[in-house]
C-alpha cells in the first residue's frame, strides 16, 4: 500500500477502502476462519476487523510490516470477539476433552487448507486460540499469557493439549 492510498483510506475515501478490502480480504478471512468456530462467526470477525482497521489506520506509524500490522488488528479483533461471545476468558479447563496421544496412528494423507480449517474449528475455543497464536502467529508463551491474561504455564499446557487434540481430529478426519 502506498502512502497516498493509506491516506485516502484514512480520509474515508470509499474507493480506496474498497481497494484495501480487496487486497486483504482473502488472507484476513482465512485468519478469521482459523479463530472462529463457525463460518458465520468468521464473517462477523472479518467485518469488524475491517471496520477497526479503517478506524485505527491513522495509528499505523509506518514502522514495520504493514500487513503484519493489519494482521495484528484482525487477531485482536478475533480474540475480543471470542471473549465477548463467551463472556469470559477463552481458556478452557484442562481435561474437559478427551484428547489423543502422540502415539496415535497416522494415516499419512494430506488435507487441503480448507479442510484443515474445518478440523481447526472443531477444537475448543481455548485450544484453537493458543494453537493459532503460537503456531501460526508466532507469539511466544509469555506474549500469549499476557494477551489472554493467563499464566505462561497455562499457555504451554494449553498448546500441548491443543496439538494433541488437533492431531487426533486430523487423523479422525483422514479416516472418514
Amino acid at each position: 500500500m502506498t502512502e497516498t492510498e493509506l491516506k485516502a483510506c484514512i480520509r474515508g475515501d470509499r474507493r480506496a477502502q474498497k481497494a484495501f478490502f480487496d487486497r486483504f480480504r482473502g488472507k484476513m478471512f482465512a485468519l478469521c476462519l482459523r479463530y472462529a468456530s463457525t463460518r458465520e462467526d468468521a464473517e462477523d470477525m472479518l467485518q469488524e476487523g475491517f471496520v477497526r482497521v479503517f478506524r485505527d489506520l491513522h495509528q499505523y506509524s509506518g514502522a514495520g510490516n504493514f500487513e503484519g500490522w493489519v494482521r495484528k488488528v484482525f487477531v485482536n479483533t478475533a480474540l475480543q470477539y471470542l471473549q465477548k461471545q463467551r463472556r469470559g476468558p477463552v481458556i478452557v479447563e484442562l481435561g474437559s476433552y478427551d484428547v489423543a496421544t502422540d502415539d496415535s496412528p497416522f494415516f499419512g494423507e494430506e488435507l487441503p487448507a480448507r479442510n484443515l480449517i474445518k478440523v481447526l474449528q472443531q477444537l475448543p475455543t481455548g485450544f484453537r486460540t493458543v494453537f493459532n497464536l503460537y503456531v501460526l502467529e508466532g507469539y511466544s508463551h509469555p506474549e500469549i499469557a499476557e494477551i489472554l491474561n493467563i499464566s505462561v504455564g497455562t499457555s504451554k499446557s494449553q498448546l500441548l493439549r491443543a496439538k494433541a487434540y488437533f492431531r487426533s481430529l486430523l487423523e479422525a478426519s483422514l479416516t472418514t
Binding site: 480520509r11 474515508g12 482473502g26 471496520v51 495509528q59 463472556r87 488435507l111
Partner: protein
C-alpha cells in the same frame, strides 16, 4: 506429511498448509462493511461543494448580471454626456477655425460629411480604435492650394485626433478621392499620402475641458466615513469531523441535518483610505438554528453496565454517543433496562435515534478591507478580512430519542443525559464577499453581496483532532450612510 507428524513437526505442516492460503469471503461482505463504516468524510470537490449552494449562487449571479447591466448602461450614458460636452467644445472651436481657414485658402469645394460616418485610424498611442464623428465635419480641399483643412475629430473616446490639418498636396484630386472613400467606410490609411498617417499619429488629441465633464462624484462624494447596516440570511455548512480514535460510542453512526439557517445583523463603521479602499469594523450578531438526526448503531456489548445494586445489575446498560455541537461537542448517554428475561446477545445490534436541536448565538467582530472597482454610481465591491467569533450561548437539547430493540426499554426517569465539552467560546475566522454597491445619493449607498464566513480549524481538547469548522454562505443586503 507422515514424516512431519511422526517427527512432531505438526507445526511446520500446519504453517505450510496455511501459508499464502486465502479464502474469499461472501460477495456482500464489502456492502456489510461499508454499511457500518463511519460516515465518509466528504471529498473536497469544488463543484459538488458549490452545488449545495446552487440557489444562493443563482441569486447572486442574477444580481451580478443586473449590476453589470446597470453598470454598462450607466457607462454608456456617461460616455454620451462626455461626447456631447466635447462636441459642444469642438463645435465652438471648429467654428472659429473654419472661419480662419476659409479666409486664408482658396476654397474650391466644401463638403459636409454626415455625422454617422466613421473614421478608423491609429491614434497617438498606436492602437487601432474607432471614433464616431458625431458632429458635422467639414473637409475643405483645393486643387491648387494643395491644402486640407478643417478636419476635426472628437478624441474624447480615444479616437482620431486631428486639429486643423493643413497638408501640402501634390495631387489634390487624389486626396479628395481618398477622403471620400475613407469617410464612407472603414479604410486603411495606406492610401493616403505618406505624410497623413504621420500627422495622425503625432497630432494632439482634443482635450475635453474638465468643466464640460458631467458632475458624477464617486461613492461617498468624497466623504471619509460611513456607517453600514446590513442583514444577511444564509445557510451553514459544517465540515465534518474525521473519525477519531479512542472516542466513545458506536463504531457506526449516521447523521442527517435539516437545512441549517442563520441570520446575521451587522453594524459597521468604515473609513475611506482613498477612493478605492476602505477599512471597516463593527459588530455582528449571528443566530444559528440546526436540527439534526443522529442514528448511532451500537452492539449490546458496547453498552456499559449500570450497577443497580440488585441481582440484575447486568441488565441495565448505558450507551454513549458523542456528537458535534457548535464550538464543541456533547456526549449523549442513553440508559436502558432489559425488559423481561431475555438478555440480548452481546453482539446484537441496537439502533438508536437521537434528535437534537441547537440554537446558537454568536457575536462577531469583523475587521475587513473593502476595495471598490469602477466609477460612477455602480461599483463592484470586494471585501475580505478576519472575524473574531464569540459564542454567547448554545442551547442544545435532545428532542427525541429511542432504541429500536424490543428487549430494551429506556429508563423512565433517567433516559438520557447530555454532557457538554466546550473547549472555548472564542474562535477566529475569516470573511470574503464580492458584490455590488449602488450610490443612491451622495450620502447613501446600498449594497448587495454574497458573503462567505468561515472558522479557522481549532483543536478539540476533549477528544483530540480538530473541531468541525463552520462555513456560512449568506446573502447580505446593506445600506451605507456617508458622512
Amino acid at each position: 506429511m507422515e514424516k512431519d507428524l511422526y517427527n512432531d513437526r505438526l507445526e511446520d505442516y500446519v504453517k505450510k498448509s496455511f501459508e499464502d492460503y486465502e479464502e474469499i469471503p461472501p460477495g456482500d461482505m464489502w456492502n456489510r462493511i461499508e454499511e457500518v463504516l463511519p460516515t465518509q468524510e466528504p471529498v473536497r470537490r469544488p463543484l459538488v461543494f458549490l452545488y449545495q449552494y446552487k440557489w444562493q449562487i443563482a441569486a447572486a449571479s442574477v444580481i451580478m448580471l443586473l449590476a453589470c447591466r446597470l453598470l454598462l448602461v450607466q457607462s454608456y450614458y456617461e460616455q454620451q454626456l462626455r461626447s456631447i460636452a466635447a462636441q459642444n467644445q469642438t463645435a465652438s472651436s471648429n467654428k472659429q477655425s473654419s472661419s480662419a481657414a476659409l479666409s486664408v485658402t482658396d476654397v474650391s469645394e466644401v463638403r459636409e460629411i454626415p455625422s454617422n460616418n466613421t473614421i478608423s485610424a491609429e491614434n497617438s498611442g498606436g492602437s487601432s480604435t474607432r471614433s464616431t464623428a458625431s458632429s458635422v465635419q467639414k473637409i475643405n480641399t483645393t486643387n491648387n492650394a494643395s491644402q486640407i483643412s478643417g478636419m476635426v475629430a472628437d478624441n474624447s473616446v480615444g479616437g482620431l485626433a486631428i486639429n486643423q490639418v493643413s497638408l501640402p498636396q501634390e495631387d489634390g484630386k487624389t486626396v479628395q478621392q481618398v477622403f471620400n472613400r475613407q469617410v464612407s467606410d472603414v479604410t486603411d490609411f495606406s492610401l493616403l499620402p505618406a505624410a497623413v498617417p504621420a500627422m495622425l499619429k503625432t497630432s494632439n488629441p482634443v482635450s475635453i475641458p474638465s468643466a464640460a465633464t458631467p458632475t458624477i462624484k464617486p461613492v461617498g462624494g468624497g466623504r471619509k466615513w460611513y456607517v453600514l447596516v446590513g442583514i444577511a440570511p444564509g445557510r451553514i455548512k459544517e465540515r465534518q469531523r474525521p473519525s477519531h480514535p479512542g472516542g466513545h460510542g458506536p463504531v457506526f453512526a449516521s447523521r442527517s441535518e435539516m437545512p441549517e439557517t442563520t441570520t446575521s445583523f451587522s453594524l459597521r463603521l468604515g473609513r475611506a483610505l482613498n477612493r478605492k479602499i476602505t477599512v471597516e469594523s463593527g459588530i455582528s450578531y449571528q443566530e444559528m438554528k440546526r436540527e439534526t438526526i443522529h442514528k448511532p448503531r451500537f452492539e449490546f456489548r458496547e453498552g456499559q453496565m449500570i450497577p443497580t445494586g440488585g441481582t440484575h445489575h447486568q441488565q441495565a446498560r448505558s450507551f454513549q454517543y458523542d456528537l458535534n455541537t457548535y464550538g464543541g461537542s456533547a456526549s449523549v448517554t442513553l440508559r436502558a433496562d432489559v425488559v423481561g428475561s431475555n438478555i440480548p446477545d452481546e453482539n446484537e445490534r441496537i439502533e438508536a435515534v437521537i434528535r437534537s436541536n441547537e440554537n446558537v448565538q454568536v457575536l462577531q467582530v469583523p475587521l475587513t478591507v473593502a476595495g471598490r472597482i469602477g466609477e460612477g454610481r455602480m461599483l463592484g465591491v470586494v471585501r475580505a478580512g478576519i472575524v473574531g467569533n464569540y459564542m454567547i450561548s448554545n442551547n442544545f437539547e435532545v428532542t427525541a430519542y429511542q432504541l429500536d430493540n424490543p428487549e430494551l426499554q429506556l429508563q423512565n426517569n433517567n433516559a438520557y443525559t447530555v454532557e457538554f465539552h466546550r473547549p472555548r467560546r472564542f474562535f477566529p475566522g475569516y470573511q470574503i464577499a464580492l458584490g455590488a454597491e449602488y450610490r443612491v445619493s451622495e450620502k447613501l449607498s446600498v449594497a448587495a453581496f454574497p458573503v462567505i464566513t468561515g472558522d479557522f480549524p481549532r483543536r478539540d481538547n476533549f477528544r483530540g483532532g480538530n473541531l468541525p469548522g463552520q462555513t456560512t454562505l449568506a446573502f447580505t443586503a446593506a445600506a451605507s450612510y456617508w458622512f
